[in-house]
Amino acid sequence: MADIQYSWPDRDSSKVIGGRQIRLDGMAKSTGAAKYAYDINLKNMLVARALGSPHAHCTIKSIDSAQAEKVPGVVHVHVLDHAKPGREIRWQGELLVIVAAETEAAAMEGVSKLRVEYEPLEVFVDEFNLEAAKKAGRTSKDGGKVQLEKEPGDDEDEATFADKELERLFKQSAHVVEGFYGIDAITHCCLEPHGATVYWDNDQLIAYLSTQNVSGTDEGFANDLKIPADKIEVRCQYVGGGFGSKFAPDYWGTAAARIAKATGRPVKLMLSRDQEFKLGGNRPSAYLKVRLGADKDGVVTVWDSDHWSSPGADGPGVPQGVIPYVFAPKNYRRAVTKVTTNNGPARAWRAPNHPQGCAITQTAYDDMAARMGISSYDLFLKNLGTDDSPGVAGAKPSVYAAEMEIAARLIDWKAKWHPHGKGARRGDIVDGLGMSLHTWGGGGHESTCTVKIHPDGGVESFCGTQDIGSGTRTVCAMVLAETFGLGVDAIRINYGSSRFPVSGPSGGSTTVGGVSESHRRAGQEALAKICEMVAEKLGVPAAELIADDGRIKARGDAKKSVAWKEACAMLGMKPLEVTATFRPSRNKSPLSDTKVGGVQMAHVEVDTRTGLIRMRKFVAVQDMGLIINRRLAESQIYGAVIMGIAYSLFEQRISDPASGAFLNADMSKYNLCRLGDIGEIVVEMYEPESERSRGVIGLGEPPVIGPGAAISNAVCNALGFRVPVLPLTPQRVLEAIKNNAGRA
């Protein structure tokens, strides 16, 4: 068989790819039939609940579970290793003891009877306050980078040279801005909390886990439980939100497995809502002080910043690599300080670090436009550079420029923009426009898929991937339907089990790229084998055969064809199985690519009396290479934008500086967007042939990056001064108005 040339059909000949197929799991989801991990109820199952530490920082002196064990219905009490006497607990909510019982009520009563003695320790949670963090010994240097066009002499000290050179560049600058910008920590707040329902079938562990990583979490269980990974099956058909926080079994998952082993019964352990807020993941905060200088045209030529970031008790903060964001001035110095606190440890949050980088730096660029009295649009455009000499990282300047033009048209930038703070007032209301640029990788992850073609014409695939809501199942079915010239309903997609061929975790917008690669490759290889069989019958070379409209046809001669079922019947008694793997490499794949760019614009109204911000319109223009499913791609962008509006205006983790307690770990106090908060949203997918021909690129994350900067810039345009830290709560808006008295 000749080597297969992997490819996508062109735009005009695509029958399925690029269409608006409705999602295949929609029926199950809209009828309540879809079973998430926390919907799995097994016969004889125990329900487990856990006690979390009330203290943000303490040592455990003793644990007495005697009374808990006496509660009717309580079957098992499990003290976690990290909670044994003498151990240090570093954040509030850390689970200490798990109680498994016949009912949830009994488990909760058991938890309430646990007696734990704590030795409280000094607490620090004020990550906003760098001086206090330094005083408390909670800071550490976390990298930095200096890049200057001029190089120091051989005998010159690099740091001293940088100081002098930066000063020289600032003196030379036509315009200089100094500013402070920030973005608070938020939580993932998945509506289905973290957790699992598990049972043992002899020595095999079956775990229904709420996970973004079906193929990788069996290893996680194996490592923790010290058993071979081939004794574990992780299952997950539906996930009620993950956003980067559900890649591991977590210690509570393995604890459930231990309890199930000890009791010989299935166990369900899901975090409570309060625990989900405290343990289920959060996005690091970031605060930045910067000085930037621009030439007379507004091109930023020098950047000097210090920022600090807190991932809570553990994990990485926002790195220097995203500072400034997208824009790449020729001279810069950037330094990072990490602040360690007694807040729960951060986890990856949709487009890790990019939303923060964007929010704390493209606001500074916007302030430069304000200083110069020019439109942010013009300043951003001037800083793009050209494709031959880019002033930006990620997507090409020409892509950003084209997207800016589209976005500006959709939001009517020219007619609605006014110089910062100079718009018309309507009573207490002022309005403004702001924009931002973003980029993301989104290259497909490693993925293996087995395609099975049955002699009766049935087609199914097996892939250890998962569908976190982005539409993986639908995308896989569309790829195979296109490949075999069949309808989407004719394809059965099997996923959501670690027993299937390995596929990567759904993080980094890598899933659609990965699974479309593996499915297309396996599909094209399987089709080639079918065509070889049919070639002899039709007397046409296999290379001249195509699959279309339920038939295998000679290209250009429709009379020479056989029905798909007839072709498959030639397999005899045995189905055909083909397995293909996609491994990302430096070599460009013909099916997928990496790096996208997007432009977002916001139009807001600010009530200067109440400090309330109202979204009027938000425009998102997004490049994503080749679009598999237009309907689902749109959903991803809408969703990301709305999530972005939430963290720009509402979401905020509030910790009590005295006790370290997470004060709003409750849906009634942790504000998220509601239907009335989002205004009009316009989504435009940028898919010219130049970008489509690059192949598939992931989309889940890029559109969530820009709303912070775009909305902050719009508010600044409305008021004429910056509300420096996101979320832009009414309190912060009013404080900024007070600090800029007379300017609003």
Partner: protein
Amino acid sequence: MSRKRVVSATINGDLVEFLCEPRQTLLEVLRNVLELTGAKEGCSNGNCGACTVLMNGRPVVSCLVLAMEAEGAEIRTIEGVACGSHLDEVQQAFLQGAALQCGICTPGFIMQTEALLAENPQPSEDEIRFYLAGNLCRCTGYDKIVRAVQSAAAQRQQASHSTQATR
């Protein structure tokens, strides 16, 4: 632990008797006793709307209703909306309009929409946003949800006009 009581209620058209403790919520009984897991537990304090069901035609967050309060009531859950594989207009509009992603909030939104359209068959966009403001979507599909509700309302109106015209 208090003694369990027997509660009788009509659930999705069927008369059902179940045993529950006085402290158990309707949500807990639906999910853990009756295996109706379509209503989801998002927050347990009435702030996310994921557990919305209809009780005597009114939408309630079932995490804040005691199971014993369901005595004699008519309860409708997401499992009782479709007729076999035939989706009703609201479900169909959510599906067609891509108004769902991870889907965990979808049953709650659909039940709240059923209540809205029963009360107000032609809601304005503002009325939709107001009536559904108690339901949270984290993914988030709000824009498409509003469009789906508008589409479902239009479909129902059209169906109702067709029925009247054929009479």
